[in-house]
């Protein structure tokens, strides 16, 4: 059971009253076979200590392909910094 992963650059993305949020370009969503409303998992390294889960709230413009927008609470939860590259995949009961 293989899972499709993408390497994306983290950036902060805020919308009012939204937590646990993630935004990806439509092409990136298609590449990991995810849709708005589903969950993604973002991770740096092997240990899991720098990682978090987030719900896909919407899409980013096409010119922002290769990046993932995360709400501030997700950046804090994941121990991330904006500008870092992370692996992203569709978060299901398996992965």
């Amino acid at each position: 059971m293989a899972i499709k992963k993408l390497s994306l650059t983290i950036k902060k993305h805020e919308e009012p009253n939204v937590v646990v949020g993630a935004w990806l370009a439509q092409k990136d969503l298609d590449a990991i076979e995810a849709k708005v409303g589903e969950f993604v998992y973002a991770s740096i390294g092997w240990s899991g200590s720098k990682s978090c889960r987030a719900k896909i709230i919407g899409t980013l413009p096409e010119n922002e392909q290769g990046t993932i927008g995360l709400t501030e609470d997700r950046i804090y939860e994941g121990n991330f910094k904006a500008g870092e590259a992370c692996k992203v995949w569709k978060h299901t009961i398996w992965f």
Binding site: V20, Y41, G48, R53, K55, F95
Partner: protein, 542 residues
């Protein structure tokens, strides 16, 4: 007691020093990323399944298991392994209903589940049972470490306990469960390398597997001891092992459950249990009981003198086969087994204390406050508690019997309440509380007034060294009696149907369990417990 069995060379000390520094370094490194109790207790469900599986296994291969199962292997042979057979049934049941309920609910501890499923008073008595269980396990591990260090270096048992407890406390206190589990991964590798070397070399020294088996006393080749054996009674081991300790290992062992709760997804949590039971446990148990069996065969062949104290069986074998350099790796393997289990018990004991006792009294404090309390408690639990229990353990000739007299004994009520709580809505909170309390009281009476409260459960073997195995039968009978009485008095369903959603496996379709979980995650929660009953009802009944 001065019973040094081998001498370490310079190269061995270097290997051991590097190992200890690496473990502490990992703890301190990952400790920087621990921000709240969620990360300290269950790593915020972030860890990959393979780390969780290896960490799960390291709890099994502990100092206490190596010392006590090797001793049993020497004294009774393959019967040392029989309790591992019980895992098959309990693990499958746990995979099917226990993992989904615990994982998706978002709890940190079993008593926390007990409060959600039953009520506050059930949580209080569960916390007492769990604390006795976890602290006894932790203390026994520390005591076994003391016994080992005494045998290895002639170090005083209490000083050895203290030294390892302090080292373990440093990285557990700094990094919480994440540091515990990541260091466990390194320790698991050492356990496989060191344990594999000992068993392989030992069997080779005994002339190969067939020769080793041929030279064992006849009774040692059987997986089962006589039903009413004075030292290892089959009947008592069944009640203590199969019904109490193994069931508790899955359904009520806070240390193990935390490792499953740290997995990223529900199916990865199931995979952790499956990989542990199907692959890692069968390999790992070879490292605990086999050294004693191998040494017994060597003693029967006249290759080595029978050890004066059979609790030193494992180390006597190590002294026979290890060379300088290799000995350092083996001692590092032993330290791995000691510290990986010790750190798990420290962290889980603290989880129960902080999550289920401290936070219930002093609520609404900041994450930073609770994290500080967790860290201070880790030090106290690691350094002070083991000495209290060690006094009790020292009165037993058999370490395995000493361990199970307490650990398997306090758990029957807890196991019955947890499993029935997960399976059915029909158990009332008063009944669950009564069952757990009856089990604890019954066992305490059996331990402290054995003439009256243990003797009737010993099938005529009272007074033999093995009769402590029946403590758990006493606890089970008391718990079952309480269950029957409770069901007769409180036989009506206690709460509305919707209050069981997410808490009782059969209260809703299993697909709804996952829906509730994801709805909670989307709001920044951990699982059902962060949603209101109305929100859960809406999801289940839509």
């Amino acid at each position: 007691m001065e019973t040094k069995v081998f001498t370490l060379h310079q190269i061995d000390w270097v290997i051991i020093a590097i190992y200890i520094l690496v473990v502490i370094g990992i703890g301190l490194f990952f400790g920087r990323r621990v921000k709240n109790q969620g990360e300290f207790f269950v790593a915020s469900k972030k860890l990959p399944w393979w780390i969780c599986s290896l960490a799960f296994m390291t709890v099994l291969i502990s100092a206490q298991d190596i010392v006590s199962y090797s001793q049993t292997g020497y004294d009774a042979g393959f019967a040392a392994f029989q309790m591992y057979l019980d895992d098959c049934g309990w693990a499958v049941l746990f995979l099917a209903i226990g993992v989904p309920i615990y994982f998706l609910s978002g709890i940190y501890s079993v008593p926390e589940y007990m409060e959600r499923r039953f009520d506050k008073k059930t949580r209080v008595v569960s916390s007492i049972a769990m604390l006795i269980f976890m602290l006894a396990l932790m203390s026994f591990n520390a005591y076994a470490v003391g016994v080992m260090l005494n045998t290895m270096f002639g170090l005083d048992v209490f000083i050895g306990m203290m030294a390892i407890s302090i080292i373990t406390a440093i990285y557990t206190t700094a990094g919480g469960i994440m540091a515990v589990m990541i260091t466990d991964t390194l320790q698991a590798v050492l356990i496989f390398v060191g344990g594999g070397f000992i068993v392989f070399s030992g069997v080779k020294m005994a002339g190969g597997f067939t020769e080793m088996m041929t030279n064992l006393p006849t009774g040692h080749r059987s997986l089962f001891t006589p039903l009413l054996d004075p030292n290892y009674p089959q009947l008592g081991m069944f009640f203590g092992g199969a019904f109490a300790i193994t069931a508790a290992w899955y359904f009520a062992h806070q240390g193990n459950i935390q490792k499953i709760l740290a997995a990223r997804t529900l199916n990865q949590a199931r995979l952790v249990t499956g990989v542990f039971m199907g692959i890692l446990m069968p390999i790992g148990v070879l490292f605990t009981g086999m050294p004693g069996i191998i040494l017994r065969s060597l003693a029967e062949q006249g290759v080595v003198a029978a050890p004066a104290d059979t609790s030193a069986s494992f180390l006597v074998l190590v002294g026979l086969i290890a060379q300088p350099g290799v000995l350092g790796v083996i001692v590092a393997f032993l330290l791995s087994a000691m510290m990986s289990t010790g750190s798990t018990y420290i962290n889980s004991g603290v989880t129960i204390f902080v999550n289920d006792i401290y936070m219930q009294i002093w609520d609404k404090k900041s994450d930073k406050h609770y994290l500080l309390v967790s860290r201070i408690s880790s030090v106290v639990v690691a350094v002070v508690v083991p000495f209290v229990f060690a006094k009790y353990f020292m009165q037993f000739d058999s370490l395995m019997t000493a361990l199970y007299s307490v650990t398997s004994a306090v758990m029957p009520g807890m196991v019955i309440a947890a499993i029935l709580g997960i399976v059915t809505k029909k158990i009332h909170s008063n009944t669950a509380t009564l069952v757990i309390l009856a089990s604890i009281v019954g066992v305490m009476l059996a331990i402290f007034i054995p003439d009256v409260f243990l003797k009737p459960f010993c099938f005529g073997t009272y007074g033999t060294p093995g009769c402590s195995w029946y403590n758990s039968l006493a606890g089970t009978v008391w718990a079952l009696a309480a269950l029957v009485i409770g069901q007769l008095i409180w036989h009506k369903q206690e709460k509305a149907d919707e209050e069981y959603y997410g808490m009782v496996y059969f209260a809703q379709p299993s697909s709804k369990l996952e829906e509730i979980y994801w709805a909670s995650i989307a709001k920044g929660g951990k699982g059902y417990i962060d949603l209101s009953t109305e929100e859960i009802k809406e999801i289940v009944e839509k």
